[in-house]
């Protein structure tokens, strides 16, 4: 319950935050909503010596229509993603997935950028933005660069972010009326998914990503490939775990997870095809 001692710095801007992180090196961490980091610190599984609080960097909380895509500021809270009229209209899959994150209290504190930067394979939004073909905008001491979601996740809680870089924006392509589905399978309503599926289909194209089916969020490329080559939903769904390396845990064995992924992908594609 009581974290190890740490210093606390508050940044007023992205630039200041990046400068502070650069100054304090590897042992510093950004603090946004705190809903992934603080529990780890309380259990003393994470012991950063400096926290750089970016919670008050106001100009990073927004949802903007940018033509072909929607731009979402990294500090936008899950509740604001869930309720955004722009997202509901243009990227309903993401707004819906955000409504499944934790409980109402978590959604009012946690941020989309924090969730993606934490790169937890069991979180809903990394996989959902991956399925949607999002691009992440990151900012470092030398300016901004863009990383495609499919290149971002490198390992368990590891991403392509450099230690002195900060995720500042998520660009999500508009869905243009695509059918979609978000399947979250868990034992209690407010838990992380045992397996989750974010999927969309539009004419010949599709995107399917899996939650908690490996050390990173998983793009089920084999499913989309099968669909585009004319496979039935059922046959395509059988390829659900081809790109995954699921782990066993208290809630699911590897075999069960693999089975669940196939069932849930089939259900997701059925719903998205309606």
């Amino acid at each position: 319950m009581i974290p190890a001692a740490f210093d606390y710095k508050r940044a007023g801007s992205a630039e200041e935050a990046i400068a502070l992180i650069g100054q304090h090196g590897d042992e510093a961490k950004f603090l946004a909503g705190g809903h992934s980091l603080i529990p780890l610190m309380k259990l003393r599984l994470a012991q950063p010596t400096v926290l750089v609080d970016i919670g008050r960097v106001k100009d990073l909380s927004y949802v903007k229509d940018a033509g072909n895509h929607i731009a979402i500021g990294a500090l936008t809270r899950h509740m604001d993603v869930e309720k955004s009229p722009v997202l509901k209209q243009h990227v309903p899959l993401l707004a819906h997935a955000a409504s499944h994150v934790g409980d109402a209290q978590v959604r009012h504190r946690g941020t989309i950028g924090g969730s993606i930067a934490h790169a937890d394979p069991a979180s809903d939004l990394p996989a959902t933005t991956l399925a949607l073909g999002a691009t992440y905008v990151v900012q470092g001491p030398n300016g901004k660069r863009e990383i495609a979601a499919k290149d971002f996740y490198r390992g368990f809680l590891e991403s392509a972010l450099a230690p002195d870089e900060m995720l500042v924006e998520i660009k999500v392509p508009k869905m243009n009326g695509a059918g979609w589905s978000f399947q979250k399978f868990n034992r209690r309503a407010q838990d992380w998914a045992i397996v989750g599926v974010a999927a969309w289909r539009n004419n010949g194209t599709s995107g399917v990503a899996l939650v908690n089916m490996g050390s990173t969020p998983v793009l089920a490329a084999a499913v989309s490939a099968a669909l585009s080559s004319g496979a039935s939903v059922a046959d395509a769904a059988n390829r659900a775990a081809d790109d995954a390396e699921p782990q066993s845990d208290l809630n699911a064995s590897v075999e069960y997870r693999t089975h669940l992924a196939k069932v849930l992908v089939r259900r997701a594609l059925e719903e998205a095809s309606k």
Partner: protein, 804 residues
């Protein structure tokens, strides 16, 4: 209105809102950790990361020199502090093995979480930081986590007793020698089942917290603790620490739930008192959640083998039970007695002849000690008989309700030939005070639409159905109101089962009720005020209830085992009677009549036949206070103390029905409907009764579907936080239909029975019977708890070979 005036009951039976709730809901209630105690030192306990390890050496020097650290102690340092080992109050057999258990381990740690060193520091943060700096060298030994393996004594946990077996306790009742064997030989039908009661973590919302405050002179100590049992704790702390009992005061402030887990005497309570005395300063400690999962007792933990014998009609002719009980690493306060509390209930609510053979062997393991958890022994027993009854019905090919109907103790059997309510004397000799099982079951069947559900099931559960419907029922007895002291004596329990109450009418006619019960969420203040208000004819808001402080309520045996109303509430009614008896003498003196010519109603004494000659109890109270004009031999003040020792247990009962759908693709169980028809006799406050049923049902359902303390082969607890240990939340709970029948208890003046554990006792078996009922058509006839999606899917795989 005349109808209201003619009612004999004005207060009892009303749905009064709980007076406790405004403070709880606004966060104003004060729990131990909310107490501001100037100058308090903070205790932190270093816990063993090994399930079983010899402590080779402990180096505390780095920790001791850290900023804010006042002292660091090992088990060796404090060994001479203890006058006695930690207490177990229930030596169930003369040869029961009970290894010495001290607040800090000395040579050996016996479970992950066993305390090995203690830090005192000036802040909580400093105490935690110092734990990381203590260097312990362990020699890890093999963990013992399997009960049957433990019994082989392959790895001995406590060398001092030379075995892992603690005791074997038998209850064999036969009408004639060999009756059980004979019944099984001649039975038309038998079933033999094995069930595992998984370990459960009680997970009270408030973890434990302790503060010990020594007085500057004279040696008195006040111990504040999040406990269910301040009175028991006072005696036990005095004995264990060698403190004169009159110098110990124990206070339980607001306590956030217990479910049995705070019915204990814990290491941290003893450490805080001992170190507060040693340092002459207050010492406090609060448990972390993950610490709570390891350092506070667990519940259940049994392997049950049950066999039923029945005649051609399904009438039970014998029951045989073999239990193995998981004691964990040590015996806590009532650990060994928990299986015994269930020993009388494996015959269920059925008219069983004297052919009963129960035996329990209990064993030590290298896991957190177990102890009483909501229902304590009785949910386990009910689960075994009720799931086995369904198995018997399947074997016979008859409806499970039909089988139960053929076996219920009938309403007539609670009466003698002349129609007097004499209770039903069961095969084991205990007398069930009253009951009408069929009436409760019929009511539940109607609420659930049982016939309609069975029809729907036939059409829904066709081969290949993605969702299968299942209906499960359970009919239970709750043996509660712990307990008649003489019965406890026969079970070798170390105390009585009475409860005490003092009722005091103050000069201004406000009333103080002092109770020995110790509420921690049950709403006693509301209910006890209602009882006194009813008896004395005053308004409930004019009654204050004092409790949970041994200086204010010196006599009591506290709250557990659904005893508070049936024992403590009845004691309050008895104390009110004594107050009225005394007031009657003073009233007769004032009205110049004989005491027996007075009647007392609605707070007023009046002369029979001359209602205008009357005096209210308020006036009597003032007269008793001024003492200006009292009859000879009557002491001033209007106060009485009464101790109630129940003549019998109370026997609430009921029938619960659960309806589930099982997704055959994912194995997920959805509870569609839950009906609970309970009979707890007369109800003081139906709102509180319903709340107890809701909470109990959810806790029982949680055992069936969600909760399990999982240990790995090395004895590490894998479910040590609320993300991994799945306590269902409000949004996971299905609608629960509650209804009641009312069969008053015949053995106490309020006709009450108790309701705290009923839901838990009924729910787990009702849910599991429903799940198995949904799947039995596919060949699945047994399933371990919890029926998690993974477990159900695995069972489906085993019968279908993966084919849908």
């Amino acid at each position: 209105m005349s109808i209201t005036q003619e009612r004999t009951t004005n207060v009892i039976g009303q749905r009064m809102l709980r007076r406790e709730d405004p403070a709880l809901l606004t966060g104003e209630a004060k729990f131990v950790n909310d107490l501001v105690i100037p100058g308090a030192l903070h205790l932190a306990v270093l816990r063993s990361p090994y399930a079983h390890a010899r402590i080779k050496s402990i180096d505390v020097s780095d920790a001791a020199s850290m900023p804010g650290v006042v002292a660091v102690y090992t088990g060796k340092d404090l060994h001479s502090t203890w006058a006695a080992p930690m207490p177990c109050a229930w030596p169930v057999t003369p040869d029961m093995k009970n290894p010495a258990h001290y607040p800090l381990a000395v040579d050996k740690a016996c479970y992950v979480g066993d305390g090995v060193a203690a830090v005192l520091a000036t802040s909580e943060a400093a105490s935690r930081d110092a734990l990381d700096a203590i260097d312990v060298v362990y020699e890890p030994l093999a963990a013992v986590i399997d009960l049957e393996d433990a019994l082989t004594d392959r790895t001995i946990i406590h060398e001092s007793i030379g075995t892992n077996k603690s005791y074997t306790w038998n209850l064999k009742v036969e009408s004639a020698e060999g009756a059980v064997d004979k019944a099984f030989k001649t039975a038309a039908f038998t079933v033999s089942e094995r069930y595992v009661q998984q370990r459960l973590i009680p997970m009270a919302m408030e973890p434990r917290a302790v503060a010990a405050v020594p007085q500057p002179f004279g040696g008195d100590v006040t111990l504040y603790s999040a406990t269910q049992v301040p009175h028991i704790l006072k005696v036990m702390t005095a004995i264990t620490l060698g403190i004169p009992e009159h110098q110990m005061r124990v206070v339980a402030p607001s306590v956030g739930g217990g479910f049995g887990s705070k019915l204990d005497v814990y290491a941290e309570e003893l450490l805080c008192v001992a170190l507060a005395r040693k340092h002459g300063a207050p010492v406090r400690w609060v448990e972390e959640r993950s610490e709570n999962t390891q350092a506070t007792i667990h519940g259940r933990g049994q392997i049950q083998n049950i066999e039923l014998a029945a005649d051609k009609d399904g009438k039970l002719t014998a029951v045989r039970v073999r239990l193995i009980g998981d004691m964990g690493a040590y015996l806590q306060l009532v650990t060994p007695g928990v299986p015994l509390l269930g020993a009388f209930l494996y015959g269920g609510v059925y008219d069983l002849p004297q052919a009963y053979d129960f035996s329990c062997t209990s064993v030590f393991t290298t896991m957190t000690p177990t102890d009483a958890y909501r229902g304590a022994g009785r949910p386990e027993a009910t689960y075994a008989i009720e799931v086995a009854m369904d198995a018997l019905a399947r074997t016979m090919g008859i409806d499970p309700y039909e089988l139960r109907k053929r076996n219920y103790i009938k309403k007539e059997q609670f009466y003698d030939a002349a129609g007097n309510p004499v209770g039903y004397t069961a095969f084991h000799g205990l007398n069930y005070d009253s009951g009408d099982h069929l009436a409760a079951a019929e009511k539940a069947m109607q609420h659930a639409d049982y016939t309609g559900l069975r029809k729907k099931q036939k059409t829904q559960n066709v081969p290949g159905a993605r969702k299968r419907l299942g209906i499960g029922m359970t009919s239970y007895f709750e043996m509660c109101g712990l307990a008649p002291s003489r019965v406890l004596a026969s079970l070798n329990y170390g105390a009585g089962g009475w409860e005490s109450a003092t009722v005091r009418v103050l000069p201004t006619s406000k009333v103080q009720v002092v109770t020995g019960t110790s509420p921690h969420g049950q709403g006693h203040e509301t209910s006890w005020a209602m009882i006194a208000a009813e008896k004395l004819g005053v308004a409930p808001e004019d009654v204050d209830v004092l409790h949970s402080d041994t200086a204010i309520a010196p006599l009591g045996l506290d709250t557990y085992g659904s005893r508070s109303l049936a024992v403590g509430g009845v004691a309050i009614a008895g104390a009110c009677d004594k107050v009225i008896d005394k007031a009657r003498l003073i009233a007769a003196h004032q009205l110049e009549c004989a005491a027996e010519d007075l009647e007392f109603a609605k707070g007023v004494f009046s002369v029979k036949g001359s209602p205008d000659k009357a005096v209210p109890i308020a006036a009597i109270a003032f007269a008793a206070f001024t003492a200006h004009n009292l009859p000879d031999g009557v002491e001033p003040n209007l106060e009485a103390q009464y101790t109630h020792d129940p003549k019998n247990f109370s026997w609430p009962f009921g029938t619960h029905i659960c309806v589930v759908e099982v997704d055959t693709e994912t194995g997920k169980v959805d509870v569609l409907k839950y009906v609970a028809v309970d009979d707890c006799g007369n109800q003081i406050n139906p709102l509180i009764v319903e709340g107890q049923v809701h909470g109990g049902v959810v806790q029982g359902m949680a055992q069936a579907l969600y909760e399990e303390a999982v240990y790995d082969q090395d004895g590490n607890l894998k479910t040590s936080n609320l993300a991994e240990y799945l306590v269902p939340a409000a949004c996971d709970v299905p609608p629960i239909t509650t209804d009641f029948t009312v069969t008053p208890s015949t053995t106490n003046q309020l006709g009450v029975k108790g309701i705290g554990e009923a839901g838990t006792i009924g729910a787990a078996s009702a849910v599991m019977n429903a799940v198995i009922d949904a799947l039995s058509g596919l060949g699945i006839t047994s399933l371990d708890m919890p029926a998690s999606p993974n477990n159900v899917w695995k069972a489906l795989q085993s019968v279908q070979g993966g084919k849908q």
